[in-house]
Amino acid sequence: MTRWLDVEVGTDDIDLNTLPQNLALLDLHNDNEFKLLIGDFGRGEDGPKLKVFKGAMQISDTVLPDLPLGVVGFYISETVPRSVPIIAVAYSSCVFMYRNLKLFYKYYLPSIELSMCEMEVWKQLTNPINHNIDAIKPLIDSLKAIPHETLTPQSQDILTLTPEQRLEYLENNAELPSRNNAEIVCINTLKMHSIDKYSVSCVVIATEDGDVILLEPQTFSQLCQAKICGVKKTPFQMITTGLYSVDYRITIATREKSVCILKRDWPEGRILFNTDDHIIAIEVITADSSVMVICADHSMACYSKKGKKQWCLTLEHRPVAMTLVPVLHLGVTLTGVALASGHVHLYDGKARRDTVFVRGGCVGVGARASVRWQGAEGHCVCERCLTVEHHDASASGSPGVTLTGVALASGHVHLYDGKARRDTVFVRDVVSVMKFGQLGQEEHVLIIITGGGNLMLKILKRTADFSAHAAGVEMAPSALTGQKPWLIPKKSKLFLEQSVRERENATLMHKTFQHELNRLRLLAATTLLEAHKKSDNSVGIGPMESMRLTAEVEGLGPVFRVTLMIENNSKDKAVIGLSILFHVHTVNYKVSNPYIKVPLLSPGGKLKFPTKIEEVFDDNISPDVLFRPVTGQGGERSLIKVLLLKEGKKTPVLAATVQMPPTDPMMLPFDKMQAIAGIEEKEDSNWTNKT
């Protein structure tokens, strides 16, 4: 189940060739409809252009004077109603500001003054008197004495030439070196006073020499300037966080495998950390200022804001691009990493949450599939197809052929002549630029520009869920191989004390334990012996194991109803030839039916035998008998033994002892009570006739 909705982009004339920094999402016309701005390098003879997309549709096209190095949009005032945003496009050493797509300001980087020595040398070099090899040599040596970095490109050039070439060079262009302009490498914006989406921002520029310049939003004059690092570093990507007037951090990736950090009021930045291989892209998580880095050695790492390495993942393929995917309503900020294999992985921290496969440019090729080939002329209508050469060849062989190209979702393009397939081309396309943000009125749009120049738009579904259980992506390999450390709780003080005690008193503890164990065994043996003596077991043993005998006593007395229940728990065996025998002292109890023959008991069967038992009282009865539960001295008198016998066996199968409850004194005939109470009365035998 995918979490993304694919937008169909009519790609017939979209051919983009750009870099991540040249993408900007901007509410260009102040209508709350975000446009996609792309600074396009163009291909072939097409020059660089600034293209504006509304949704998937290109709505404007502005020719740029030079190759764009970065496109950013920002606001320069907070008037109500909102003013239109300014677009800043960086070129080699200048930044052009556009309002309503019209150029209105040009900012040039401050030029660097030439050193006096170099100027002096050049004055002599340009003098025609010195135009011979002998005269040049000492001058060149003095040029060599000046540090190489501070020289102008012209001086650097002349040092690389041979003496003869130098002479020729000087004779042809006898000019003093021009001013040395720094080159811009990246551009970004930094919010001034508020993190609001439409608040005023200033432009931040980083140069080839490692300078960072902040421009005032109103006048575009220099606010402040700083070096990114003490040693020479060349920045190539810059990410700003924080506010200019409060506190800000500029995180800069350099070409020298290190990431530098520049904070407010620092005259010079410092190295945050170094990586093992060349950095491809960095991103800064706003929540905790941690830095995500993808490197050329297939690694993706996270560093804390102090520069400490938090974790590192090894990716399956070479990473190409990275973008942050903040999904605010779910409270997560994912990191999207595009790989050279055509996959885009979304990570939450180091856990992978989703994978999107950028199929061989199927969107673009699919749209172009209906392009009909003009076989007779031998060229196709679509110039940008990957199969042009091939097609020319086949067409020239058989003039008049019209091939039909069909692009499949698998990334294959089949070329058909009628219904016969002539060729198959596999179009593999990978992400070249990726950006996530608001486009049009949709907040969560992933914009992908593929290496082939296609534009892909993917909208995050409203119902998308990136929580761990819903991710549906296999666990990280480290968790599978069990490299995850065990959760071992810390040793508490109590635990330590106990272990010391155990070590000191080991013998005593062992003895005590053995002693207790023996006592337990003795108790068990005694209980077993006692049970054997009484042969009191309601559960059978041996072949009669499945028999159970239980008894239930009802009534207040002196006549009780004892119900015996015999169960056959066996699943497949029936029992026959059983009988029940009551074993009672005739002085105490009288049983109405002391011997019961039990019929056949089917497997799982259960039979009930109610029997009447009457307590017998003789004349000199002790009152204790009636108060058994109170005094606890009923003794042997109140017990009835029930034996379950089997034909042909000498020992009973089961035996149960039933403790009879005392007869309620109120149920005794009055005269008997009198007798018990010791009053001289004639014996009345009425009660004995009772049944």
């Binding site: 909705l5 937008v7 949704g55 998937a56 309503h329 049009g440 009125q441 909208i459 409203r462």
Partner: protein, 193 residues
Amino acid sequence: MGLLDKLSVWLGRGRAEVTVLVLGLDNSGKSTLLQALRPPDARAPPQHAAPTVGQTQEHFTSGGVAFSAWDVSGAPRHRALWERHYRRAHAVIFVVDSADHLRLVVAREELELLLAHPDMFGRRVPLLVFANKHDAPHALAPMQVAAALGLERITDKPWHICASCALSGAGLADGVAWLARQLRDAHLPHAHT
């Protein structure tokens, strides 16, 4: 048909008012469309419509059927509330901005979620789709919108699509008349003949 529906038909024979749900993405023109459907005397002076928050109720009559229309906010965070209204709806009006090519897929996704919801699935609720803003540049034709929304796959509900322009009111009467006809046939056999 649920008990509530039967009850409302039984009780509402005198009033004959049906509940219709007006859904669609934000900025598709739901509130403006309902504004245009009001009787002319009750119509507010034309103004810039602010996004609806929560929901509002509108009443209008067409084809002898009195409608009580629920205008529900279409903002992404409010779309989860749509399903609260499904149970009591007799009909659904789905408004699509036919000039917003980018979000047609989003509209399709929301429509699919609506049709698959347990309170909607299998009920014969008439679905009227307005391909709104048909006068805007680059607007798609109603048939293209229908194809983009995958309407042809709906089998359990009668559906109809028509182009409209909520600002001028063009096309609205046509669509609502279809809806009134559907509702009269299904729900109110005794009210009007």
